[in-house]
Amino acid sequence: MATSQADAKDRQFLAVIGDEDSVTGLLLAGIGHVTAPPDSQKNFLVVDNKTENAAIEAAFERFTTERKDIGIILINQHIADRIRNRIDTYTAAFPTVLEIPSKDHPYDPEKDSVLRRVRRLFGE
């Protein structure tokens, strides 16, 4: 935990995996960042109907394991559903994953990992 706290200092960006409107809105708030070339790594991924699950999973992998400067990953709940297994097995403290609603898919408490944890705690 002590190491992860030191680790937390460098994590200054929020990443987004979402549909175009979600990404546009959040980028309007100023969280978008592209690292200096030649890397030019983005901290967001726009997902549409044509985006394959493998691409979403690769982006999630990149934001969680490769990049050490991301503290929160915001992901649309319906997109998280597409890689649900990967999301549910992710347990690291950094970066934190937060599922957010999208335009066509309102927030569903049934799928919320925090509320599922609550049920588990009281159901024991």
């Binding site: 200054q12 809105g25 980028l27 969280i31 960042h33 592209v34 030019s40 919320d112 609550v118």
Partner: protein, 288 residues
């Protein structure tokens, strides 16, 4: 909310030990206190969730409005993103001392490092990643408090929006000002707002303005952006600055309490088994 410490004088007289063992009831009290705190956190979490949902749906509506009113073929989306964008709002993760004294449990102190709860904040920064402090506060030499800062930034956004509105109105009503403005914009983006001021701003102010404007994602979509798009931006900023970091903080805190509850439950089980064993010994001793 703090967990009440265990009463120290609870050992039964049968136990002559110098270090008194907590009874299962004591653990029950502790678990209840933890669960009460957990429910408060859960309440905050659901409240934050609903405000995030309403802010985001407002943002989506405004984006849809902006897209509806836009020129044919124009869509406020990924095609206009600046490939060299720099984050103007960044995360700060600070360790916060959790409750100070409740960990007087047997193995409690060795985990002290774990008991620190992390606090997540999103702050406005300049291009180099330094925290932006509002001008008025700098002049008055006041300490920059986060809340006032947030207010200032949201107010600034609002003022900007108003100014741009005025600009737009002038733009459509008066062709002379239109021409005048076009000249202005050809000089550079720093003339965009505050051109009514008679006083000349300092060089530093100018530089700051240029930086601020260059760093404003609204500029990806042009100089005069529609009102719904600016409203969408205001809502997104509110979500990113106030709701999301708090949600993550509450989530971490809840996870921490869950661990403590499970730990306390295990210890309660152990204590119950011990108490039963002691009771049985007592019965055996009495019958013999």
């Amino acid at each position: 909310m703090t967990t009440p410490p265990l009463p120290l004088h609870h050992a039964s007289q049968d136990q002559p030990s110098t270090t008194p063992q907590p009874s299962p009831e004591d653990y029950n009290t502790q678990i209840d206190a933890l669960l009460t705190r957990y429910l408060f956190l859960l309440n905050e979490y659901t409240t934050l969730r609903s405000s995030l949902s309403s802010l985001q749906s407002g943002m989506y509506q405004n984006l849809a409005r902006a897209n509806f009113a836009a020129e044919r073929g124009m869509r406020y989306g990924k095609e206009y993103f600046d490939e060299r964008m720099v984050a103007g709002r960044r995360l700060r993760v600070l360790p916060r001392e959790a409750r100070g004294e409740e960990d007087i449990w047997e193995e409690g102190n060795k985990d002290k490092e774990e008991e620190k709860v992390l606090e997540w904040r999103v702050v406005k920064v300049d291009e180099d990643g330094n925290k932006v402090v509002a001008k008025a506060e700098e002049k008055n030499g006041k300490k920059a408090q986060d809340e006032t800062e947030k207010e200032n930034t949201t107010q600034q956004e609002g003022n900007e929006a108003k100014e741009q509105d005025q600009d737009k109105q002038e733009d459509t009503t008066n062709p002379e000002t239109d021409r005048h403005q076009k000249e202005d914009t050809s000089h550079g983006p720093q003339q965009d707002d505050g051109n009514e001021d008679a006083e000349k701003p300092d060089d530093d102010d100018k530089k700051n303005k240029i930086k601020k404007i260059r760093n404003d994602p609204l500029r990806w979509f042009g100089l005069l952006t529609p009102l719904p798009l600016r409203q969408a931006q205001t809502q997104a900023i509110q979500a990113v600055e106030q709701i999301i970091p708090r949600l993550v903080t509450v989530n971490t805190e809840m996870a921490q309490v869950e661990i403590e509850v499970r730990r306390a439950r295990k210890r309660r089980e152990k204590a119950t088994v011990k108490a039963k064993a002691v009771g049985a010994e007592g019965v055996v001793g009495a019958s013999a």
